[in-house]
Symmetry: C2
Subunit: 555 residues, 2 copies
């Protein structure tokens, strides 16, 4: 009878109905397995926030069960929250060599390297826990050393694909482990969680190798320097740039902190194999003719402080864009970054560079599976139950429809939200309750000290600024003995609005007189009266609603 009630719980703490902060809990009996621990970059209205991380209250409450965090690959949206989470929950960290290499750099910066138990795994490794075991399976993605994760339980296998694409000609020759997915599928996968990012795109994602062909075409005809901006984590892309450079007798320098870090780590670990003397220090670029130089740089998203943006605005210490430079932006805009990238492209063109970007040539391919690749994964794994993950609702919904088209019963597919609990038995799947989840804001050194009230205030301040009204009052008599003074910031250009500010002061004086007349002397009421009177006056005159901050000083 006991066995009948056996169940696996699946609880996503992030990554559903959003892009970023991927983190999924698989819980079976005494084991909690955490897959990934990513950050999310803030939305536009999260003013001043640096990054967003998942709320892991549930894990802290159940920390004796947490066996570790198991990583699928080394992208920020899968590893970026780790330093913050480890400070709350020191558990073992499992990942492949490159993934842990990238994580180590991060932990060093946070002073956490010596206190963290890092366990390197490789594809087909199996980690045995108390009641379950965790297996890593080779996939392809836009970063090397990516894996899917299979959790073996007595009820069956829970398969999490991680982020993946299918690449029959990957740069490192390491093709996805079709055989193992098929083997699991044959044995029976109880439930699959699969990447939904590109479900809206028909067909197949092109092989990473096609980008190398474009590079070769460009490199063969360029007469000046070649500057390539791409994601620091895209090791295969970088390897292809190194190969094209070597073929055409060019030296390669690297710019941008994250690019320098990744190239160092990936070279040390053997994931990048530059030819002898191909890589040079950025300080040495002027010793070679322009047509013998390639610079690999950060800034493919137009980030204003990135190396490429600084080159474009002549703020880079080592590289200034000159006529004849060929700049390749080897990336797609992440939604929201279109305008930033466009700004950098315009600046580069203005400086006389040629600029090649996705609209003009095949200088980028996605790292995620399109529809036909997703179908292959479904057909290999043949899961009994299916949970689409890694996407906004539109993607999850369409991934569900894709599975149905492949013959799956809609009752066997569940679209989840962060914090929801799904319970899976041998022959059933159902939602059952929720756990605490949500977004924790990191702002400077503060983790979680900025909440919705602070953000609401920042938004209000950003729209119409603030008026501070100060008045000093004598405690005994209640008489105003200094002020009211009004100081504004971000509201109007004061010199051109002297009349307005003068009248505003009269409005406050009138409000204070009214308080006196009505014998209102508690501060809260006085402040409210000042605020109301000013708000009405200012809105009428300007149709704006600045924050109004009345301060009463008592002596």
């Amino acid at each position: 009878m006991k066995r009948e009630k056996d169940k696996v719980k699946i609880i996503p703490l992030g990554g559903l109905n959003e892009i970023g902060k991927n983190m999924t809990i698989i819980e079976y009996k005494e084991d909690i397995i955490v897959i990934d621990c990513g950050l999310k970059f803030p939305d536009e209205d999260m003013f001043g926030i640096d990054i967003v991380i998942p709320d892991v209250t549930y894990l802290i409450k159940n920390k004796e069960k947490v066996r570790g965090i198991f990583f699928t690959h080394g992208h920020e949206d899968h590893i970026g929250a780790l330093p913050y989470i480890l400070k709350q929950l020191n558990v073992p960290v499992y990942g492949t060599k490159l993934t842990l290499g990238i994580i180590e750099t991060k932990l060093k910066e946070h002073g956490l390297l010596s206190t963290t138990n890092l366990i390197t795994v490789k594809a087909r490794d199996i980690i045995r826990l108390q009641s379950a075991s965790v297996e890593f399976i080779k996939t392809n993605h836009s970063i090397a050393d990516s894996v899917a994760i299979a959790i073996h339980t007595p009820l069956g296998v829970i398969l999490h694909t991680g982020d993946f694409k299918i690449d029959y000609t990957p740069i490192d020759g390491e093709i996805m482990d079709f055989a193992r997915f098929a083997e699991l599928g044959k044995k029976g996968v109880l439930a699959m969680l699969a990447d939904s990012t590109n479900v809206e795109r028909p067909g197949y994602t092109m092989s990473e190798r096609t980008v190398g062909e474009t590079f070769e075409n460009i490199f063969s005809s360029a007469n000046g320097r070649i500057i390539v901006a791409t994601f620091a984590s895209n090791i295969h892309r970088i390897q292809q740039i190194l190969m094209a450079a070597e073929k055409y007798g060019r030296k390669v320098a690297v710019s941008g902190r994250s690019m320098e870090n990744t190239v160092a780590v990936a070279t040390e670990l053997g994931y990048l194999t530059p030819g002898k003397d191909v890589v040079i220090n950025i300080d040495a670029i002027n010793r070679y003719p322009n047509d013998k130089i390639v610079i690999i740089t950060t800034g493919s998203q137009g980030e204003p402080m990135s190396a490429l943006a600084r080159m474009a605005t002549s703020e880079h210490k080592k590289v200034n864009i000159i006529e004849g430079d060929m700049v390749i932006i080897s990336a797609s805009p992440i939604p929201g970054n279109e305008k930033l990238i466009s700004k950098v492209i315009n600046q580069l063109f203005k400086k006389g560079a040629e600029v090649i970007y996705e609209a003009l040539a095949d200088v980028h391919v996605s790292g995620h599976a399109c529809q036909e690749e997703l179908k292959l994964m479904h057909c290999l794994a043949k899961p009994r139950f299916f949970i689409p993950v890694h996407g906004e609702y539109r993607h999850l919904k369409q991934h569900k429809e894709l599975a149905q088209k492949l013959g799956m019963n809609s009752n066997n597919i569940i679209i989840m939200d962060n914090g929801e609990v799904v319970e899976i038995t041998r022959d059933s799947i159902r939602k059952n309750g929720t756990v605490i989840s949500g977004q924790v804001f990191v702002d400077g050194l503060g983790v979680g000290d900025v909440g919705n009230i602070v953000l609401r205030d920042r938004k209000h301040l950003s729209q119409d600024g603030i008026l501070t009204v100060v008045v000093t009052i004598e405690r005994e008599s209640g008489a105003v003995i200094a002020g009211p003074d009004i100081i504004s910031r971000g509201f109007v250009y004061v010199r051109e609005s002297e009349d307005l500010m003068g009248e505003a002061r009269e409005i406050v004086k009138a409000a204070l007189k009214e308080c006196e007349a009505k014998k209102i002397s508690d501060w809260a009421s006085m402040k409210a009266m000042i605020k109301d009177a000013l708000r009405v006056y200012l809105y009428e005159k300007t149709k704006r609603k600045p924050m109004i901050l009345p301060i009463i000083m008592e002596i």
Copy 2:
């Protein structure tokens, strides 16, 4: 001799190196001709700004020469600044019937209709001015009644294409006036200014009619309500929805203020020809079965206050999205709006609607010419000189390259910036100086009262909030008699940061003591000391830089 020095001046006041606020001056002898008068929507970092309009100082200085504003079509980025400019410069307004119809609605709202001289023109009309004349030439675009403008001067024709595409099967049957462009080309066009928006796209823009075919496919199989979101100004799109609705026996209701306005104006003027009893009031939709209803709505850009967004969040008074609704987003995201649109799509899916958008079906075509269409225009007009317009620098640059590929000499092509003056004689083109130009911010009722300092403050406030420090000091003795009080907004959640705020107060006290010890008593220096001490302390503790506003009250 005098004639040798004859020249036409071309001065763009907006629309170059930006998307929006299109406005171009063509000046010949005693005539200033203004083409279009558009607004720009604010960039993300223009906090609190409603719209951006061009700086027309040059026109005001030369107002006796300004013969009028001549409109190419009725889109906001070409007409939206008119009410603000007319308040500074009351000149005649020329446009085709629909363009003026849309302008009238705008002027009514601003109370300007009775004081404005509106002159309706039609294609091939010629307006004779003192030394030049202005001709209107039929084009196609994503709004009906669009025209190019040819300025005839003794030196030759200056041709401004306006926004255009080539559509051999336009909905109203009115094909672009190829013959007139060819005729002008044969006579000799001195200079052409041409739309560069889609210069990065190879091939041709599809005909508007192809969208109608997609509508028919969708309408023929939909079982519930059909809700189509599109630009209110896209009359042809709306006409095609009306036609598909009529064909499949559906009634059409309209939602959203701008959609209601445009449909009313366009129907009145004969640009929309709905079948008998096809259009119904939105209040009547519940009298018909769901599969007999179409709703045309605003909100195709995901604007949070638009009708579609309100339907998606159940805040719309008349329409709530239900299971079985089919929503068509018949538009492309304008760069910067991707996330807003995605949010609405997710909400619609969550409510059980089917949603069809550009990624999934051909429910939109562009209104701008792609490369092959631009080539046709160049080949018809055969201008001696060429100025690419309507685009960011990347577009202008690539449009220049396109013209060179067609055989034009690069010296005959000039890429301009807003405010620059180009002088053209019979056989020369050169830049010669600049005029005042720039962006004027509209914020509520204020036009130009928010400048860069206010925006900088708003940005600062948005990032880390503000700390106001108030202290009351006795004038005679310089003694602190109340405070320091510190009030923060948008900085930290105060209840959880009591220690920090307490220590901050001590820092201010120490700074005040130091002032006393050093006999510093002028306010500016005292404020600077408070500010510096607090800034250093807060940055060390939080890595944040809130605005610090010290206020000293004197009694």
